[in-house]
Symmetry: C2
Subunit: 730 residues, 2 copies
């Protein structure tokens, strides 16, 4: 990683010369060695890891812990002071850097990108970020594309492009490449210094112009292309084969230092070639000449924003001010995400420089339009008549790349600000691997007390599996919540608010939280409302509760429990409860709704888990028919150790998807009201003798509804106009 | 989708003029209407969907089924004859087109890319594909980038680039854009015809040059940029607002035709503007003039390769010829993937134009080197000294983008050929969403008898969670198998071969299979070998079996079962069995190994599931300690309805990952031999009284091993040199 060491040293020189605040993002794989060393030389590594002192013993520990059991990984990770980037999986450095620059007008984010990483899909798209940075209200990003020529074994695509091709590709996407190339250290140093000074002057010029209202709104931004040999300054030949400048210098150029005395001797020669005796004093401390190369203030490794310091909580409106009113539960329709839009609009007004919204061009489709009453969609490019609410500093960032939405938001959060990513449920899988890495970052970062918890990563997952009526199977996949719940329980949260008022309270909670990945699943279609503001607040705080007003077990023990999680399953469960009242008025049915899925975990598996006693209070000893938004096995996985689990029957999405009506989707997957009611009857021996008649009736009604859908393309009037008529007192 | 209709018509004209074999990939979202119509006009739609005849009633049905319950989705999907592309999730059209072109020298793949799709990460990276296509042995790809200016609500980035910028960006990545731009239909037609003819001539020229050994090895390839207004030829104004050329024409330009008589009138005017009376006869059949616009032969919608026809099975070597020999189980080391490499090399020799290997630059890292004895890494760019085994027509495609590896392989499979994608386990999540879409394609395609099953999508998942010793937590995630098993059981398969010989048999099976997503998880590190070729064959055919040679239950019923799935869990389980022999010689232990995870499903949940009787034969009634490669809940999810499930205790990865030794990883997650042995003892009442002594002993030994790892950076000699010594007869 000689290129990273070189870069870091020159950035430090520039900081000292100009007083520019900087932050460093390290993209290349296995590059942490260089950054461990650089931050150790600055003293910040020892400050954050007191066991790694700035002396001989500390230096030994620094070397030893690298990629060593109980030590630190070989890529950027939370152990590195000043780092905001989990670099284990390649591709996200430039997106993180861009996210960090939003709303940080005084910041310059230097971002080293490996030429291996540059081949990834996410990085390929990330060059577009230049177009989204405001010249005045945002900071700047300085990409440093490091062409060392090879990945593990193959050459890299970008390193073998001609200079003209690379120039063309980058400048077309808003960057002005400036080149530092060579293998002679002294020449490269001089060149790097000149180029970096010029780049920073250009960045300053763009800002100065913008402040005076001059210059193009979307100027080309400077970037550096650094072309040095892979394994530069390392062993030239090993066992007679060329190493420097080839793929053989990847990771470990001398593989047999333990067994092969020649390799050991080469290693010693190599390390001595840096003349350590001139760099360190006898105690192993950097000599003054070296120590003076680092800024006293503004050290990149001590940038407060990178450790979550100075992160300001949001000032949030009251959910009560946005709540949907109704005369009785289950009688009025509202679009949950549209209601949330009003709340988010007011939140934005209160937090104009601290909150951003990201979406793959679905902000309006997801019915968060109200936000656009007080801001625009960020757009700095050419505009034409017919464009809708574009604005150069809009707070809604839309780009048809889930990777960019996620990567930008992560960078924004990792530097202490707040945000929301709204996206279609099925396509949330596009960022599966990114959320793994972010969750791992959150979990690992919590081990370092000098890192303050950062604002949570908040997903609004909508256009969900039950209401992709027109798109069909490809748009129907509720598995993102399974994926997130496979991550550490300290970090992962999944909420399924049943209606708009619950969505408000859940989102209020999520926006106030820190250090979490919050997945909120909510529909955007008109749906019945059940809880007023007060009831919603209490229900969401509890995370799950029996809806006594919906059940018929008020004066006697429940004979069967209808449980539900998710807006559509809640609707079908209530309809099933109403059917049961109609058909078997003497049956004691309890309705339970779950908002916070993690409540179902045993407490030793998840911090939100409730005890078995509380669980039994809610679910009773009666059999449970559970209508679930997602794959049924997620509930089994969570609750398999619970009392009565053998009598819990989960109905959920079983990958039976197609282009069809909302009710038909439910029927295909067995979460429709008729199937749920029949399932409940089957579980109660006392009424089982009446089953045949009712089951036949319920089946006939389900089949008629499905036939109607296929014939007319819509659900039956009785299903569309269905209202809860089971009682309105709580 | 007037742009798609235009494109299709011109491609047909070109086919008729030149006799060029073509295939069409439709990228833009909600674009299926155009392709439904085009293939209906050609007659192939009616051929494949006899209920949609080429007459008035058929036309009505064609319109009605579009995005309608029980009908077809609004994007390209398996119902479309000639299509190989599931277009529900945007981003993969160009990668699919590239994959289809490999080894199809006579084929031209025309690929329409929406400017929304062009913003996705996967598509951004896909332009690199040009560099991987051989001029002679591969076919050609003709991208048609359709700039209609808007996504759902925002403008698109590429449409607002200047012509110079777009030119620069595309040509830098190996494409020569040719422009068709305008709003006047007649002019655009003429221009499209000229440009398409020129593009095809250029494609022919590149091939002719190559066949004569002329021209650059990596020429710029022609592509078309088609810029027409969004909603072109549709209503210009609706309710006084401009629609044509703006985002308002997305999907449904006239939203209220049912309620609003003005909208209805506008709809009628619009549709009549195409003068249907001149296009169709009284019976609703296309008039001759229209029918003659389509080629008689070589219809894109009847391309046999797109329906899996003419797909040739692989000729495969015998696993026996590659098997690892040993004197007794558990005494010899081998690297499973290296052994597989030899088998794959021989497979490649037998199938030189029908089999490709894809990897994000990890082919050698994953120890499949042997393949490179008979081919090279595909590389058509500039070459320099130090490059390792590059070749312009190499059969190993390495690019550091999992998206491209997956997308190219999908395109190759969807046109009937075979391939393997080898990748690091943790980073397989990068393609989570792509495998969802491919699995959905396979499942939906199976509904159409005119689609033959295509070769399976085979993953070799290696560098797995238990052996990312140096990289740590970011590289440790076994959740890809959970994800794949959430897809339809008809399609999804997960195999965990315990050793090299089993890996050979599993892979042999996978390469012979069709219509599946096969995930094979296997380590690349030296590991003990257990089954000879014959035993491996039988074991893999069964999918799971009791390893009688490893157990102590030969002459009496098992008191406890040690089950395992995965190579490292198998090693720890056998070590635990040996410990139990040593400590409690009178205990009857059975060892069960599971290769095919789906065998554990009940038969009504997965076609591979075994019956409860067979399950009980194997697992007995004794308690089960199950050491599992992945997250423990996956086993619970699969087996929760099995007899004895309450007494099954699964030990697996619980997201306790870090940079540490192999044994330490096992210990941190409770799948190490000592923990397993102690857990087994706990379950057997007869020996429970001896538990305290043994448990204390086992705990002490585990802790000592962990301390050693932290001190010396390696596992203890006793763990490293561990061999199975429990018996060698079967």
């Amino acid at each position: 990683m000689p290129g990273v060491t070189l870069t870091y040293a020159h950035l430090n020189r520039a900081i000292m010369r100009t007083g520019q605040e900087m932050l460093f993002v390290l993209g290349p794989g296995h590059g942490a060695a260089a950054l461990n060393a650089a931050t150790w030389l600055e003293g910040t590594y020892s400050m954050r890891h007191p066991e790694v002192r700035q002396d001989l013993a500390g230096m030994r520990e620094l070397f030893r812990q690298f990629s060593f059991p109980g030590g630190v990984p070989s890529h950027a990770s939370p152990h590195l002071p000043g780092s905001i980037h989990e670099g284990g999986e390649l591709g996200y450095s430039l997106a993180h850097a861009t996210g960090a620059a939003f709303d940080n007008p005084n910041l310059l984010v230097a971002c080293t990108i490996g030429d291996g990483e540059a081949e990834t899909a996410a990085l390929s798209a990330s060059w577009h970020g230049s177009l989204f940075l405001d010249r005045v209200t945002d900071g700047s990003v300085l990409p440093i594309l490091h062409l060392n020529g090879y990945k593990i074994a193959s050459p890299t695509l970008l390193a073998r492009m001609s200079r003209e091709e690379l120039d063309a590709m980058l400048s077309a996407q808003g960057w002005e490449p400036m080149y530092v190339e060579g293998a002679d250290a002294a020449e490269v140093h001089e060149c790097f210094a000149d180029v970096l000074d010029a780049a920073m002057e250009r960045i300053r010029g763009i800002r100065d112009d913008a402040e005076c209202g001059l210059g193009p709104r979307d100027p080309c931004r400077p970037m550096i292309v650094l072309a040095t040999p892979k394994g530069w300054t390392g062993p030239m030949l090993v066992d007679g084969e060329r190493v420097e400048g080839t793929f053989r210098s990847h990771q470990v150029p001398l593989p047999e230092v333990r067994e092969n005395p020649e390799h050991l001797a080469q290693l010693e020669d190599w390390l001595r070639s840096y003349r350590p005796e001139e760099l360190f004093d006898d105690a192993g401390r950097p000599v003054d000449r070296i120590a003076r190369l680092h800024p006293e203030h503004l050290r990149m490794s001590a940038n407060r924003a990178t450790h979550g310091h100075d992160s300001v909580d949001l000032r949030l409106p009251s959910p009560a001010d946005h709540s949907v009113g109704f005369a009785a539960p289950g009688t009025e329709l509202a679009e949950a995400t549209r209601v949330l839009g009003g709340y988010l609009r007011d939140a934005l007004v209160e937090n104009p420089r601290n909150l951003l919204f990201f979406s793959p061009d679905e902000h309006t489709s997801n019915r968060l339009d109200a936000v656009l009453e007080v801001t625009g969609r960020r757009w700095r490019g050419r505009r034409i008549a017919g464009d809708d609410r574009l604005s150069p500093d809009g707070r809604v960032l839309e780009v048809l790349s889930e990777h960019l939405c996620q990567g930008w938001l992560e960078g924004y959060l990792l530097t202490g600000r707040h945000g929301v990513f709204s996206t279609y449920e099925a396509f949330a899988h596009i960022v599966d691997s990114m959320v793994v890495q972010h969750a791992k970052w959150l979990h690992m970062a919590a081990e370092y007390p000098w890192r303050e918890p950062i604002p949570s990563l908040n997903y609004l997952i909508t256009s969900h599996v039950w209401r992709k009526d027109h798109n069909g199977a490809s748009h129907q996949d509720p598995g993102f919540i399974d994926h997130v719940l496979s991550k550490r329980p300290e970090v992962s949260r999944v909420y399924l608010p049943p209606d708009a008022n619950c969505l408000l309270h859940v989102f209020d909670h999520c926006l106030r939280s820190r250090g979490r990945v919050n997945v909120v699943v909510a529909g955007k279609q008109p749906a019945l409302q059940y809880l007023d503001d007060d009831a919603a607040r209490v229900h969401c705080e509890r995370g799950l509760s029996a809806w006594r007003w919906a059940g018929s077990d008020t004066d006697r023990p429940a004979e069967v429990v209808l449980a539900c999680a998710g807006d559509v399953p809640t609707q079908e469960t209530l309809a099933a409860a109403m059917l049961l009242r109609e058909l078997v008025p003497d049956l004691a049915v309890r309705v339970v709704n779950v908002v916070d899925l993690a409540r179902l975990f045993p407490p030793d598996r998840h911090p939100h888990g409730i005890g078995d006693d509380e669980y039994r209070d809610i679910f009773t000893d009666a059999p449970v028919i559970f209508a679930f938004h997602g794959y049924p096995w997620l509930i089994h996985r969570i609750a398999y150790r619970r009392p009565g689990h053998d009598a819990m029957h989960v109905h959920g999405f079983t990958d039976n998807g197609t282009t069809t009506t909302p009710f038909s989707m439910c029927a295909m997957n067995g979460i429709d009201r008729f199937t749920l009611a029949a399932a409940a009857l089957t579980e109660v021996p006392r009424v089982r003798d009446r089953l045949e008649r009712f089951t036949a009736d319920l089946t006939a009604r389900r089949e008629a509804a499905e036939a109607y859908a296929r014939r007319y393309g819509i659900d039956t009037p009785e299903i569309i106009d269905w209202r809860w008529g089971g009682g309105d007192s709580r």
